[in-house]
């Protein structure tokens, strides 16, 4: 469904990703784990065409490299970035409507789906996002990405700074998106336990390189990795 091959990314002359390859099948949740600065956000930005890259990114066989981000979103990539990048002085509802910019025919259905997944967003529809809590912003961010009718959803650090209860809520939603809506989900996480609880397969990203990959079970058994990322 998503296939990344030999992707390198650059900020000016500085190289941030080195020959990264990964894939995700339709209806699968995979995770990219790594420390701060390992390149997880760069990887997602690169899929959206926001960095200079070499290598290939394919979505359902179609090459996305060289396309502008608006075209990539139109082809079915939704992105909930780490810092949310919401529109602070717009209401929750307007933030969601901006997310529907490329999928205007689906507004009713998508809005219904987002409100069903996050009932709080329906209650807070008229509130400006600048006045919301981190958890609510994460919901708006995910909701905005879903308003674009994505088939692939990229979620960067879904649990960062959130209370455990909210993390559980987010996890439930991500599973529902996979199981009920057939979405492919890629999450980037520092919180490896959260990642392993959701993902069927995991990639470890270190200093811009993939250093390990495997099923969640096999990686959990790797002692060196466990020491580095799982805190035991």
């Amino acid at each position: 469904m998503l296939e990344i091959q030999g992707l390198s990314a650059f900020y000016g002359r500085a190289q941030a990703l080195f020959d990264v390859s990964l894939r995700a099948e339709k209806g699968e949740i995979i995770a990219v784990i790594g420390a701060n600065g390992a390149g997880k956000s760069t990887l997602f930005d690169s899929v959206l065409g926001l960095t200079k890259t070499t290598g290939a990114v394919r979505l359902e066989g179609q090459d996305l490299t060289g396309q502008g981000s608006s075209e990539i979103v139109r082809r079915g990539v939704g992105y909930a970035p780490e810092r949310f990048n919401l529109f602070p002085y717009m209401t929750v509802r307007d933030n969601l409507l901006v997310g529907a910019y490329t999928a205007r025919g689906d507004i009713e259905t998508n809005l219904e789906m987002v409100h069903a997944l996050f009932p709080r967003l329906a209650e807070r529809a008229g509130q400006e996002t600048s006045t919301q809590s981190g958890g609510e912003r994460q919901m708006v961010s995910l909701g905005r990405a879903l308003m674009g009718s994505p088939r692939l959803l990229l979620v960067d650090e879904p649990t960062i700074g959130l209370a455990p209860k909210v993390c559980d809520e987010i996890a439930v939603v991500l599973r529902r998106l996979r199981d009920e809506f057939g979405l492919t989900v890629v999450i980037a996480e520092q919180n490896a336990n959260f990642a392993l609880s959701l993902a069927s397969r995991v990639y470890v990203l270190e200093s811009g390189r993939i250093t390990a990959e495997g099923t969640a079970e096999s990686l959990a058994k790797d002692e060196a990795l466990a020491a580095a990322y799982f805190g035991h």
Partner: protein
């Protein structure tokens, strides 16, 4: 008293229209468009050329001025702003030079003597002791209609929301599938149109001459600084403060007309650097 009220309202509506085109560009494109005055200049002369020299209907003259302003805005974005984007001082200096070049072009084509524009709608209405030219009344009504339309356009349409989105978070807009380039084009086009139509009205309010763009540019900067960049409501309110202040001051001593506007700018810059309604995003 009634005279001051009416004249204040008429002038303020016009100032609001002029300032709005300026604030849109700053808010969406983050460009302090010092050549904004050029749209007013081109608008005024285009109206003069089409309506008074070619003898087209006056409403056609206003619309053609608006179209020309729009084209000018698009060209400026495509040929200049887009290419030096990111270097704000370069954009600002380049646009200011462009305004001076356009002023010289106007002098070459039309000469540097000032011209009287015939009223868009002839006639005068007397209310108490006040004489209100229909022209000014029409200008204010059209300005208000445009501003109300713009407000709802920005709030309620996909394109308008996208303009807000780009002004608030460029990355957030990009990952929502918004092509910032396209939104910038639309914004520059709207800004040019507002400026040119504002120029027609401003020239018929005062007079048409090659240096006419400077005073309204200063007004626009003042309204935007005092109102808080990007605020549609703030722009409206402050346009009325500045407009009424000018009318009141000039009823007392016309020489001091602009001085109080400048004092207000300085006062606000010192006390509230972000303006009375301050933030930089359109809302």
């Amino acid at each position: 008293m009634l005279q001051i009220l009416i004249q204040g309202l008429l002038l303020s509506g016009l100032y609001a229209l002029i300032a709005m085109g300026f604030t849109l560009i700053f808010s969406v494109g983050r460009v302090l468009n010092l050549a904004y005055g050029a749209y007013l200049l081109i608008g005024g002369y285009a109206y003069f050329y089409f309506s008074q020299q070619l003898g087209l209907p006056k409403i056609a003259g206003v619309m053609l001025a608006g179209v020309l302003g729009c084209v000018l805005g698009l060209l400026k974005y495509q040929l200049l702003v887009k290419r030096v984007q990111g270097v704000h001082s370069a954009v600002e200096i380049a646009t200011l030079i462009l305004a001076v070049v356009l002023q010289s072009a106007v002098v070459l084509i039309f000469g540097d003597s000032s011209k009287i524009l015939l009223p868009i709608v002839p006639g005068v209405e007397r209310v108490a002791s006040a004489a209100i030219p229909y022209s000014n009344l029409v200008a204010t009504i059209i300005s208000w209609a445009i501003l109300i339309g713009l407000y709802f356009f920005v709030r309620l349409t996909h394109t308008g929301r996208a303009m807000q989105a780009v002004s608030m978070d460029a990355k957030g807009a990009a990952i929502s599938g918004i092509d910032a380039n396209r939104i910038n084009m639309i914004t520059w086009g709207i800004s040019g149109t507002l400026g040119a139509i504002g120029g027609v009205f401003f020239a018929s309010y005062t007079q048409l001459y090659p240096g006419m763009w400077v005073a309204p540019l200063i007004i626009a900067v003042a309204v935007v600084i005092v109102g808080g960049i990007g605020s549609i409501i703030g722009t409206l309110v402050v346009a009325h403060i500045v407009g009424f202040m000018e009318i009141i001051v000039s009823s007392w001593n016309p020489e001091l007309r602009g001085v109080f506007t400048m004092l207000l700018i300085i006062l606000v810059l010192v006390l509230r650097p972000r303006g009375l309604f301050g933030r930089e995003e359109i809302h």
